[in-house]
């Protein structure tokens, strides 16, 4: 078991190094860098004094050195917890990400819990009451959710909130509460804004989960051990939740690791951009546009790390939940 984990971690480490290198190459692909863009902007504004300072910046950020040196310099510092400096904000990437991390995690956990608390009971209900009107309703709901892209749905809900409810629905807080300390009023304000991302994830995130839960449970309910449990005279609730669901839930654990955990840090970038949420996603997209390379590179490495660790966590939890699975 331990050797398995060590092996997987070693594999993940190699992958992360590879991904960091390739993403660094990709980020450096466009001609020019952040500073050439900056110079152009300043020139357009007619500002000439800045050009001499640009050279200083180039040396400070190491942009004058060859590509390989830039990469090794960045990655060795990265391991020590220094992710480099954002050109755009002229501040360490670590601080910028740190500021948004809390909100990203709160948002991700909130939507995660909400989605799963909704999807599992609905999936179980749909399977237990197969072909009932309730099942059909849930199926239609889940098909809509499966096909619906989150960022478009977010836009539609935003439209509804603005025109019908006349609510300024973007962001996580109203103007008055953005920098206010935590209070009951602030929490209520947060909840007023949180319903939109929650609703978006409820519709788009639950669709697939419901389908899988329903399909697996249907298969499990037909198996002899369920019949045996019923024959022993166990209550229906016990048969379903303790025997059948416990078996049928395994694929969902894999999804939790491979999709849900990585989304904690991406914070569903597209939806966040539409709704103007202060998560890491929009920061990343912006850094790509501006060629803010250390910022973009750090984000990609973190996304990859979470994806790989999420997969590992899923495999471990799966082995723990389902004792038939042996990890080699």
């Amino acid at each position: 078991m331990l050797s398995y984990i060590v092996r997987r971690l070693g594999y993940a480490a190699i992958m992360v190094v590879l991904v960091s290198f390739v993403s660094f190459v990709i980020i450096k692909l466009p001609p020019g860098d952040f500073l050439t863009q900056k110079v152009e902007q300043l020139r357009a504004r007619g500002d000439r004094s800045a050009e001499s300072r640009i050279e200083e910046y180039r040396i400070r950020y190491g942009l004058d050195r060859p590509f390989i040196e830039q990469y090794t310099g960045w990655i060795t510092k990265f391991v020590r917890g220094d992710f480099g400096e954002s050109f755009e904000y002229e501040r360490p990437v670590k601080d910028l990400l740190g500021e948004r991390l809390t909100m990203t995690i709160i948002l991700a956990l909130a939507t995660l819990i909400f989605t799963w608390a909704l999807a599992i009971p609905l999936g179980v209900y749909a399977a237990v009451k197969q072909y009932s009107p309730g099942d059909q309703l849930i199926s239609i709901f889940s098909f809509v959710g499966l096909g619906m892209p989150g960022f478009l749905l977010a836009l539609l809900i935003l439209y509804f909130a603005i025109t019908v409810l006349n609510q300024e629905a973007t962001g996580l807080f109203s103007q008055a509460y953005v920098d206010a300390p935590w209070s009951i009023g602030r929490v209520i304000d947060l909840l007023k804004h949180l319903w939109i991302p929650a609703l978006v994830s409820a519709i788009t995130g639950t669709g697939g989960l419901i389908r899988i839960m329903r399909g697996n449970l249907l298969e499990t309910l037909g198996q002899p051990f369920v019949e045996a449990a019923r024959a022993r005279g166990l209550a229906n609730r016990t048969v379903i939740w303790k025997h059948a669901v416990r078996m049928a839930i395994n694929p969902l654990i894999v999804i939790l690791g491979s999709e849900a955990i990585p989304s904690i840090i991406t914070g569903n970038a597209l939806v966040s951009i539409v709704l103007n949420l202060p998560t890491i996603g929009p920061l990343f997209v912006d850094s790509l546009r501006k060629l803010d390379m250390y910022m973009a590179g750090t984000c990609i490495v973190f996304f990859t790390l979470l994806l790989l660790l999420g997969n590992l966590a899923a495999d471990l939890v799966l082995a723990w939940v389902d004792p038939r699975i042996r990890l080699e």
């Binding site: 992958m15 590879l18 991904v19 390739v22 993403s23 990709i26 980020i27 692909l29 466009p30 001609p31 098909f143 499966l146 096909g147 619906m148 892209p149 960022f151 478009l152 836009l155 539609l156 935003l158 439209y159 603005i162 025109t163 300024e168 973007t170 990585p262 991406t266 970038a269 597209l270 951009i273 539409v274 990343f284 997209v285 790509l288 546009r289 060629l291 973009a296 984000c299 990609i300 996304f303 990859t304 994806l307 790989l308």
Partner: protein
């Protein structure tokens, strides 16, 4: 030995694979509807958008950000017109919001005619003509028919959606086609040869899988230089979409090939002297075709959406190219939602395409395996 009447009756049941697939597909009404919807949409958006759209792509009018003109049959005096018409637009200045708006003027009535001449274009890129599906049949330069409003340059939004559909729908098709080629060829080679080739290809797909795909799309799309010509940008974006997505397909094809290559018919073909490429592409790949087609159909919407999302973020296609993603750029601001909500008309079209592909794909999945299941 004489056959009993029952046996004779049973005989025609033995049908070709194609006939069985068609027979099963026909029973799935939803899939038929999806397929017909797609055919219609591809025909009107990709083949003849110039004809369906009443105006040329860049045709500007003085009516900027005008709301849609309602198509009416009954005029302000309560008189019924057999021919639909729209009211002319009149400029108003909203002093409170400090912006121009347009209201409908019930005194100017413009009838909507079908097959009218308008902006010239070349049908199918060949035949010069100026006939449009509908329009106002009048010499009056202030006449207009904007059934979905206009954008900030006074261009008819419905026409723009029609033209934008061409790029958006084609990118899904071309991108998926490239994915299919890459994925099935590499998957087949990987599964058939095994050994070192297999290991290398598998490592590459694992590496692609380790990359979170939306950030990878974004990073690659951001790497397309801004000064490249629009056509090259479009081509590069298609290649990027295909490049990121082939891994999953290759893995599935490999799995199928692994099981197929142990079959007796493959041994038979081999003993007849078929070489590797013949075995792979004539005997093994066709066996995986049904599976591949289903996966392809169900992943085209993802491609279309990826293009839309990237262009919307400003990382994909850019003006002067017009795709649905480029159109969405304008409608994604709080200002636009409040004052020009008709710019969201792109979304229903997009959702319709996604829905149609899912319906068709679902039907194909059931139909392409006609021997099993119900």
């Amino acid at each position: 030995m004489a056959k009993s009447p029952q046996e004779q009756k049973k005989k025609p049941v033995s049908q070709s694979y194609g006939a069985l697939v068609w027979w099963k597909f026909k029973k799935n009404k939803l899939a038929i509807v999806g397929g017909v919807m797609l055919l219609l949409m591809y025909f009107s958006f990709v083949v003849v958008p110039e004809f369906v759209a009443p105006y040329a792509l860049e045709r500007r009018s003085e009516y900027t950000e005008s709301k849609p003109q309602t198509i009416r049959f009954v005029d302000s005096e309560g008189k019924f017109h057999l021919r639909p018409f729209v009211y002319g637009l009149e400029r108003r200045v909203d002093t409170a919001a400090r912006r121009r708006t347009y209201v409908e003027d019930p005194n100017r009535i413009y009838e909507i005619h079908f097959f009218v001449s308008g902006d010239p274009y070349k049908l199918l890129g060949l035949i010069p003509t100026d006939i449009h599906l509908y329009g106002t049949w009048t010499e009056d330069p202030t006449a207009s028919v904007f059934i979905m409003g206009t954008d900030s340059n006074g261009r008819d939004y419905f026409s723009r959606i029609m033209y934008g559909g061409r790029l958006s729908l084609m990118i899904g098709l071309i991108g998926q086609f490239l994915t299919l080629i890459l994925g099935s060829v590499l998957g087949a080679i990987s599964g058939y040869y095994g050994g070192t080739v297999d290991v290398v290809i598998q490592r590459v797909t694992e590496f692609l899988a380790a990359f979170p795909d939306i950030p990878l799309f974004m990073a690659l799309a951001a790497a397309i230089p801004a000064f490249w010509s629009p056509v090259v940008v479009y081509f590069m974006l298609t290649v990027i979409l295909a490049f990121v997505r082939w891994g999953g397909l290759a893995r599935q094809v490999r799995g199928l090939i692994l099981s197929l290559r142990e079959r007796e018919y493959v041994l038979a073909a081999k003993s007849f002297g078929a070489d590797d490429s013949r075995l792979m592409f004539r005997h093994l790949l066709p066996g995986t075709m049904s599976h591949i087609i289903v996966i392809a159909t169900l992943s085209i919407p993802g491609m279309i959406l990826a293009e839309t999302a990237l262009s919307w973020l400003g990382l994909g296609l850019r003006a002067p190219l017009t795709s649905w993603g480029v159109l969405l750029q304008e409608s994604m601001t709080v200002y636009a939602i409040r004052f020009a909500p008709w710019l969201m008309w792109t979304i229903p079209f997009l959702l319709l395409v996604i829905l149609a592909y899912n319906m068709l794909g679902d039907g194909l999945r059931d139909a392409l395996d006609p021997y099993g299941g119900r």
